[in-house]
Symmetry: C2
Subunit: 154 residues, 2 copies
């Protein structure tokens, strides 16, 4: 965390929020993600499960895939993943495989999360890589966006 | 399981083994997967993590993505996923999201598995969908293929 200033975190999370709002406009659950390497934004993506259709097309997996393509490596051990919602078990597993250095997420997800809830992927003895994890970053803003989206569907 | 005969399971797992051998020839860890709907093979894929490069490109996630594309839906609730190795947490989470009806896997994976080991994704209270799971199908054959591959690397 030493080399990454709060300002960079803010800017990267801004991009993740921007992507999440684009997802909502496309009728997708509004979750956005960014992969960054220091000050450099490597990829931005949002949930695309219904549009593609692809059950694996969460914001985090898409951001990881694009970043790996751009950097030419499957391991992103010098990168941070920013995402507006706590990653699910699938995405936490993907972040483990990618050897991501750091995860910064917005809202906690007691029902669907796999980091602080449910499968708690990084807390298992067999977990091969445990990144630095910052949960609840701009939590209220992140939770409100999801709540507004689900209310709009009613 | 009633409508699917053992013969179909054998044929579909044959295709998964075939894909796994192709992965080994490409220098990838030999894991192969098939998505089938009854007697119909919808997709076949193998691990492509290093080739692509893509940390999420396990045989199962690729087979799910291709099947969802082919069928035009993100949920594969009438499909079976055949795979030569116990799915990891990422892939188990993907199978949960896909609402897969049934999972048939070959070798158990005490270190990397997320179904019977580690995150045990389908055993969590928050899990939204629990498929029928048949583990250890043609286990010796599946385990030998992996052991042969890792021995060849030494």
């Amino acid at each position: 965390m030493a080399a990454v200033s709060p300002t960079i975190d803010t800017l990267m999370m801004d991009a993740a929020f921007f992507a999440a709002r684009a997802a909502a406009e496309a009728g997708e659950v509004p979750v956005g993600a960014v992969v960054a390497r220091g000050k450099q934004c490597i990829s931005v993506a949002h949930n695309l499960v219904e549009t593609t259709p692809d059950p694996t097309a969460h914001a985090e997996t898409l951001a990881l895939r694009i970043a790996a393509q751009r950097l030419g490596v499957a391991r992103l051990s010098d990168c941070t993943l920013y995402v507006t919602l706590e990653p699910c078990a699938m995405c936490a597993g993907a972040l483990e495989h990618a050897r991501i250095n750091r995860i910064v997420f917005g809202a906690y997800d007691p029902k669907g999360g796999g980091v602080e809830h449910g499968a708690r992927v990084f807390q298992r003895e067999t977990c091969r890589h445990v990144p630095e994890i910052i949960g609840g970053y701009r939590e209220k803003e992140a939770a409100k966006m999801l709540a507004d989206f689900f209310q709009s569907l009613r």
